[in-house]
Symmetry: C2
Subunit: 311 residues, 2 copies
């Protein structure tokens, strides 16, 4: 055992756009590839572009009844009846087509394409620190796009983790690119997302083709806490993200640093006792989730070497 694990080939890959119907980069890319898939074709791979929430895409809304990207709970996937919220029904359909979640029949990889209004640049989102296939993939992508930064967000927090659309696959991976306003398609964000996905598919093709990936380390930002906006006694927001924090995703926030600016001009400081790395700062979709930003801590993960199992 030289630290190189043998893993099954990843033959079935899906690329989801429109899990949120107002995040236009993934919607435009998936729309493009549904019309002509040449760009995402790879040897020995089925790569399936898929519009995850077509009604929300039609409405240019995040969702119709409930957030699809929180809907993949065991309860939701097993509900029966006609009267279910649209996204719960859609979650069941997606689980049928690409799952069932946790089963051997599930797709190998689902890339889920998202945009954020935050200044996060390119961000890959992992749901587990033990998925060595995904760790090797993000390591590959980070190197492929350098010197451009591609950050890795790890959300396996017991309370803050949520039931994503991509969690149906064996290797779920989220791609979040910003800043881009909801309902807007910016060429720079579109092309960044397109490039990351190209490298991701290249990685899978190399892996399936027998390339051995050596043990490596990956720097990730682990979700540790969600921070809400300051609110008045009626629950209304009473402050804004401080200008010194706005757009500073992934930069260190130290004890005493300004965090919020009240409407009356006063500053609210960060009172924690250690440096954190805020991200999803002032994301439009998270106002309804009572979240001004997410605090993360920087961490280095070890990835096992991997190679494909000879069949």
């Amino acid at each position: 055992m030289n630290g190189v694990a043998s893993l099954s080939a990843a033959h079935r890959v899906a690329v989801f756009g429109g899990t949120h119907g107002n995040e236009l980069s993934g919607i435009a890319l998936v729309g493009l590839w549904l019309r002509d898939g040449a760009e995402i074709r790879r040897r020995g791979l089925e790569v399936r572009p898929f519009m995850a929430n077509p009604r929300a895409v039609q409405e240019r809304a995040r969702y119709i009844d409930t957030d699809l990207n929180r809907a993949f709970t065991p309860e939701n996937l097993s509900f029966q009846g006609e009267d279910l919220p649209y996204e719960v029904k859609r979650a069941q359909e997606i689980n049928q087509i690409f799952g069932p979640m946790g089963s051997p029949d599930a797709y190998d990889v689902i890339f889920d394409l998202h945009n954020t209004t935050s200044n996060m640049g390119c961000t890959l989102i992992l749901e587990s620190s033990n998925d060595h296939f995904n760790l090797q993939m993000v390591h590959y992508i980070k190197h492929a796009v350098a010197p451009v930064t591609c950050s890795v967000l790890l959300n396996d927090h017991p309370r803050l983790h949520y039931s994503t659309t991509r969690s149906v696959a064996k290797h779920p991976i989220g791609l979040e690119v910003g800043p881009q306003p909801q309902g807007v398609l910016r060429s720079n964000i579109f092309e960044s997302m397109r490039l990351i996905l190209k490298h991701a598919l290249d990685f899978i093709e190399h892996f399936n083709g027998g390339v051995e990936f050596l043990p490596c380390t990956v720097e990730v930002y682990r979700v540790v806490e969600r921070v809400d906006y300051p609110r008045d006694s009626n629950g209304n927001i009473s402050a804004m993200v401080h200008p010194d924090l706005q757009d500073c995703d992934w930069e260190p926030l130290n004890p005493g640093d300004p965090m919020f600016q009240m409407f009356d001009g006063r500053t609210v400081q960060y009172k924690g006792d250690c440096t954190v790395y805020p991200t999803f700062i002032n994301e439009a979709a998270y106002y309804e989730k009572q979240q001004a930003f997410v605090m993360t801590k920087k961490e280095t993960l070890n990835a096992n070497g991997i190679k494909v199992t000879k069949s």
Copy 2:
């Protein structure tokens, strides 16, 4: 006659936020001033903060049934019955409270606070080149905020002009500040809007108090054309605003300059025969209006001197 016109005092002023329910700067400011109006109080002035579309604000949507800021047509204002779209009913209410439009009872000034996803900075929007009170006001504001730029957009185009919420007042004036994503409140945009409104109210207080404003000139950008995104035969958008044009609101676009980037990488150039100044570039709300940007031409308007009529 020395070019100084005598005008009635402007005693009744309204400040509208939330004409569009996802443009958060005006919504936050009006919310603040509804709780405590000290900041907008001025001698001899009634300044009334008003939430124009409270249901849309509640939903964080641009509108419920139809765009309130296009709803103030004579037909809409005279429709009767129960079954009207929400915004048509609301337009009638607003016309009753602040109008009737065109009557001596109408409010003197309505400031309507908007945000844009475009990189327009601070923009004052005029609907007429003959309203010398407004021309003097924008001249005053431009000087007060210098060296920060405050642009003036003139939309009195016979076909592209639309029936705004503020058009109920004798002197309607729009304030558009960006870039800010829909559903996001940014402190820099909020404070810019707050400052412009402060200067606007100062101007009215000075005018009412007897200060004489001398004849002057005002540089404006006049709306001349609306440009749609390139589309395929199914009506789907097939190109994005070109990176060389994105965020370049108010900058000259010359014949031959790139305008759009097709998804396949080809560039669409501007084929006109004279320099124009694009604005509202890639505004989220205008996708549904088939508008990628507005072309304007630069023009210098002459404003008469004004002073208040002695009562």
